[in-house]
Amino acid sequence: DTAVSQTPKYLVTQMGNDKSIKCEQNLGHDTMYWYKQDSKKFLKIMFSYNNKELIINETVPNRFSPKSPDKAHLNLHINSLELGDSAVYFCASSHGQGLRSGANVLTFGAGSRLTVL
């Protein structure tokens, strides 16, 4: 059983299109994240949700809109895709709030590679 699963694994689309990436975790975690990994492998936090509520929103264009229908799901919708959005997007989850409860032990999905042409 996959702990954190993302779909699709690969996504190729044209500039200006709108696309979504879905993420689901079956670990019972209550915090979920989206990270962006660029071509140089740099990992950057985009969003964090705890129990369906947004708690971190880094400097990300408002074309990116996360949606958390429940604490096991965190989807990422991207409007008006641009060339610079090409990257691998990782979903991750963790348990609880605060370090002692393991909040900073992240379990990552396998990633979704987005290519914008």
Binding site: V4, Y33, K40, K41, F42, L43, K44, I45, S48, N50, I55, I56, F90, A92, Q97, G98, L99, R100, A103, N104, V105, L106, T107, F108, G109, A110, G111
Partner: protein, 113 residues
Amino acid sequence: QQQVKQSPQSLIVQKGGISIINCAYENTAFDYFPWYQQFPGKGPALLIAIRPDVSEKKEGRFTISFNKSAKQFSLHIMDSQPGDSATYFCAASMESGNTPLVFGKGTRLSVIA
């Protein structure tokens, strides 16, 4: 502002050798320092982590050395194996929670036979 600086960017080590990756941080409030390992086509996975109340933590062939006064920590991989070839990320965060892990830029390790 890059809060966690990692070096080298890439590293080639002979099989059986010692791989050393270094990280430096700026925020003295950081109190949790993990290392993540990422294989091609996979997501990063927690390898080993340390808190600043100890100067060293060892798990099998992997050791973290921590120098609080210098604000530096490093990963040592003893008896490096080809299967250790991956990208390694150091990271840092605060125990207070609600603060995301801040990652270094990664080190691509290649262990050659």
